[in-house]
Symmetry: D2
């Protein structure tokens, strides 16, 4: 079964037009890195080994509470979504896995496995959903799920999470990501301590159902959809949860889920230090949980996060799940995900350029200027030739967006997938 | 035609249970105010004359981009919405008008007038909508409306606004409120100067169609639905727009549309000083445009806004449109709007207690402590007896929520209005 | 030895002018509370028992990095400061203790005890200082103290803290508050994990010297004086520290030390839940660590904090240290501290009005509107008559500021304390 | 008179060690840019022509309200400061002018001119100081300066500004920068409208004394040293001031003076559009007015600002004053200023790489992804070889910090300039 989504010959033709320039840039960069004692081939191999999961919902057009403006050829179901994910992986070679969201992606596991296998895709963390009501659902999550005051509602949410684990086991997933919107919109609406204890009790039940080789990843978020308080509001609470649950419970960090001005890379360092970092939802933001493309607003912040991760490589027990989590409202989601995966990979490679022995010396000497300059020199190194070479060598595209556009993939799926009309929330 | 929504005898019975206590509290407060030279009867009359418009969309349950959890008895159309608004006015006597949103509330103006008249409601500012696509709409607002790069799209948005004016003229409205979500999600997506000039040019066309006795109210907002830049992002830009347009163009201030920590009451003072304050969208917020109930999170901020408004009374040309603009996600919208209207009225009455001659003396003497204490003394005065007495005297309810619950109104409409199922945006 | 600072007869005369009105207001409030089943006398006794410590440095005029504008009669040393603190306590009866800062307040403990005893003042938590260099100090804290890369500097900081404990033992103090400014101004300057481990190791040495009946209170702060990263940056890190140290280590919460928009009352609830809340530095803020007068900017937030504290009364092990921590740049510090102590006391009394059984019912029923209304009803109750009566009954002033101004205390000390000239930091 | 601060032969020797590598990198970058139709020589000339002023106070070690930790060899007076500024210019060739602050830098203009001339330095904008009290000053600025309630205090502040202009005229300066800390710490302390009108009236008097070929640059700031309200709090107010004053009044933008999350580059675009952008105070910040080194925290933001400036080149009347304004608390100020000047220059050169015709096409087509990618491609181009070549060609250092350290300049001045001891503000 050949399920390749983009014709290989098209990629080859596209690459041919860029290859000479790429090799020239790669060679001159190689010489420059060589002066610093860095082997560009090794770095390219390192880049090639890096992967970040694509969220299944990311290939659909996102929206806001005000409106959603659909794109052409929107995926109709998880199999369409997997096809789109395969395009991203085929062209970037940086997204070998897909992260499912249940019940949106519910399907027969055999069919899911077969379809993914044909596309040479694997499955990453499973995502449960207790922030929406599904048709026919016995109890509403309007006032919460795992922390709801009603025991039956909590039990329903626990059961749903356990179903996600069970499905995930059949798909080869090794983690469950739990994000809840539970919280309150008014001072007094919720009793902070009791709500947290209910959340904890319910989550312990999920944890009890977790296979031995799985991680339970809990995700904190400052606000939205709750606008006064949120049960898992920050990394401090997230850490407490992971600690209460046990060794296989870890904290997931979404870059857009923090208060303004917060130093996220320091939070990453704290969680590493105390053995509780589990992974990331990568995206970028300027205001709140904007879910913009990774690295599009503050690329240095993304670099600083990877500076912590590269620094911590080799830490016992550090085994991270990396995923993109974005809302593509005004771009073709496939394009945004390709570019974003590359940006995450770029930050990883740039952070790998830092000479940590030299940096450590500056830190010990309190030479703040040279320590800062060391990080910035790594960051401003244009590693695009390394990333492009890694793609080329793996059969991907030197210029993924150009190749994608040339392929006519979007037009092709638009022909078979029916157009969707826009919708609005009805709120100002 | 008797269209009273709540049986008057029920209100009377409810009030009877509270009236003795109210009169006792009112009298003791009257004595206390008398010591300060304040006439409680005059203040009560002042409270009674205060009104704030209800937005038609406010009586429906709100939602977030993650989900909407409907309530019972959701209004099906503008006539149901007007009924709900009538309940709010009947019980609080503080919300004599309704603000329509087009096309959501589109209907035959004769029917609208008749229905509103029967309910003793008037129409406040008209609200246009160019942040969503409507079925059958020729051009999409996905990439903007009044500032769109495409002239035909801008023309469509202008035409829609002019239609809103025309409808509003038939309803006795005197203002058009224009809020657009135009902006960008990526650095580079939009050329700031050109986009602004397009916005300005289009808005001038709307202004040209504005009747002589109308106001054009433009509304600024920092972000959402655009997450990198917004064309009308702050009061500075809003002021420039109103100045470019002309005398009948004024700035609308929504309390939740500012950057974190911004001093909103000072913005109010600036706009008053330069003749460009047009009115408010009242609500409260803790994080972003949370659209929480007015006064529920930071009541002192609401008071400080009214402190500016009361201080500026008598300023030539100051003629403000006051409206609630909230999203009721977890409460009965009618209850939230009643409480919120009363909170806005409360802030107005508290601000009226400030002895401005005394305050001015402290300000001149730089007696910061006593100036601050003067405002706080007014704020902590419990004026609830004044508000309740104003309601009682006008035929409203001493305790509007209790009366509403006792009336069974919600259960009644739930019987005739079909249940709506929840929906979710499909985003994380 | 009679060390009364304000003539008792003056206070009596001042009170005489207000007493009739106070009794009238007190009685009518009593009747109103009685309707709700609340005994005003019991509440007054509760208010009278409430105390908050005054920081010794608070009675001096504060400043910013741009300038300090001294007031008249600035205290020259700790004995002058104690005199000023005694005035605050004499008039408000809400500030029975003083919190010392070492080395600023270093003096012979016998003299300190004698002076304080004569003023009927006790000593609250001791505060160490490793964020400034003192004349003759062997090693500089320019690049940190307890987390410094240099072991000798850390040892110096540890030794200083132990000296503070030793002095405090002689003064009857039962707590050491540790706040450090350690952090970095540049990405890369500091290695987050190593810096934290050094901090932890050093703080453990201080903890080892802590008497069995003492608390070690560590204080987190988002930023300033370090402007990129701070070692103890938030409650999550603070919690980790307290947990690593042991049972007598607790977290101190300064209301101005958080990121914008953060829900502080929820942090309070989390720390209570996990047994690590140690106390407060009360103040108010609009932007950063503004150190404004408690309750002057967002009084409802202060109330919501006390709502958590009152709710948690009776929690085993909960034993809190309350202190004001403000910078009085434009007011007479004595006046600001009097007003602020009363505002803290006010929030405590208002929070005591909440019927927690009723509230709990609303919470269980997810009646967000009534839960919110319940808190607001307590908050808007004007409890000033209770606070004033508590002062009157204890020999304080009904109107502390008026009595203070009438006393001529400031003019008196200005005659004997030499004038200080202003100073500026030399920075823009 | 030879006043060269660093021995030219040392610079030559330092450059010799780097020149081969630089030429290799420059050539390969040249080839790459050539592919995009960009002439590296022209770009290098453009870089060489770019200059940013150094603030005289920047060469001294900064501090916070908590402490100042001096460095070695602190400048004693303006002549020492000019010497330090000359080092920065000698090594970077990017800082040809110095901006003076009065009264800190008050001296005989003839001496100032002679000293600066010998160092081949010019004078940029003059800075007045009415946020501190000077010894012997008749009236205090504790409660404001240009907006003070007292007319004599305002007159004193006006007179000081006029003196600054008069001195500046003798030095060849062409601009006066006015930043005031005027504002309030308490709601109610200040009457917003009256305070603003007093400010406006006083500033008009300064403007009346402005020479025809000068600019008056007013600077807005959200907060600090005032912590509740600030008279010139944002760009909106700044714009109103500049408009009220006249054509030669322009707005100065300090990158650290905005609310959290604010889109500064859009403010830049607005001020350009309405003819009121006057210049910049460059620095970086993570929390508030942190005054960190330009480009050290968010280099992409700096780039986006220059993207607007390069885009607007050729706009009639656009004549900008660029200055660094930073507080160097933990680094050698000379080093920080050298690096920061280069970072500002880097952003300028990177922004010059953007193909604006191509970008404009993407914007017109709403191709958000490619528009964003276009900016990022320019930003990630490592233009260090261009900057270094511009320095080399102009006689500066390829690696300014290394050359500076090798020169022993700091040790040299430390020998003749007496050591300064630290100081602390006495506040927590």
């Amino acid at each position: 079964m050949n399920m390749t989504k983009i014709d290989t010959s098209l990629i080859v033709a596209q690459n041919d037009a860029h290859e000479d320039a790429l090799r020239a840039d790669y060679d001159s960069l190689g010489e420059r890195l060589d002066r610093c004692g860095i082997d560009i081939a090794a770095l390219t191999a390192r880049a090639a080994a890096f992967g970040v999961a694509v969220p299944s919902w990311g290939v659909g057009t996102g929206g806001t509470r005000f409106a959603r403006f659909p794109g052409r050829g929107e995926p109709r179901h998880i199999f369409d979504k997997l096809d789109d994910c395969a395009v991203i992986q085929q062209l970037t070679r940086a997204t070998p896995t897909v992260s499912l969201h249940i019940p949106w992606d519910m399907a027969d596991p055999a069919d899911l496995n077969a379809h993914a296998e044909g596309l040479e895709l694997g499955f990453d963390a499973m995502n449960s959903n207790t922030f929406q009501d599904q048709p026919g659902q016995a109890r509403s999550y309007k006032f919460g799920s795992l922390s709801h005051t009603d025991a039956a509602t909590r039990a329903q949410a626990v059961a749903h999470n356990i179903e996600c684990i069970e499905l995930g086991q059949k798909l080869g997933s090794k983690a469950l990501t739990v994000w809840v919107g539970d919280g309150s919109n008014f001072p007094g609406q919720s009793h902070f301590i009791r709500a947290f204890d209910r959340y904890l009790e319910a989550t312990k039940e999920i944890y009890a159902a977790l296979p031995d080789d799985w991680h339970l990843l809990t995700e904190h978020k400052m606000y939205e959809p709750a606008f006064y308080s949120t049960v898992v509001q920050d990394w401090g609470t997230n850490y407490l949860i992971a600690t209460e649950l046990g060794d296989r419970a870890k904290c997931l960090v979404d870059l857009g889920h923090h208060a303004p001005n917060v130093n996220i890379e320091m939070i990453v360092a704290r969680l590493i230090r105390f053995g509780k970092l589990g992974g990331f939802h990568f995206n970028d933001s300027k205001y709140g949980d904007d879910d913009l493309d990774a690295g599009s607003v503050d690329p240095y912040r993304l670099f600083l996060v990877f500076n912590e991760l590269v620094d911590a490589e080799g830490t016992p027990g550090l085994d991270l799940s990396h995923m993109l989590d974005q809302s593509h409202n005004v771009t073709d989601p496939i394009e945004s995900l390709m570019i974003s995966a590359v940006e995450v990979q770029r930050a990883f490679v740039q952070a790998s350029l830092v000479d940590r022995t030299v940096l450590s010396g500056y830190q010990t000497d309190n030479d703040a200027l040279m320590a800062s300059a060391t990080l910035r020199a790594a960051f401003r190194t244009d590693v695009e030739p390394i990333l492009a070479m890694a793609r080329l060598q793996a059969g991907g595209a030197i210029d993924p967006v150009a190749a994608y556009r040339a392929s006519g993939y979007r037009e092709g799926v638009a022909d078979v997938r029916p157009a969707v009309t826009g919708s609005g929330g009805g709120l100002v």
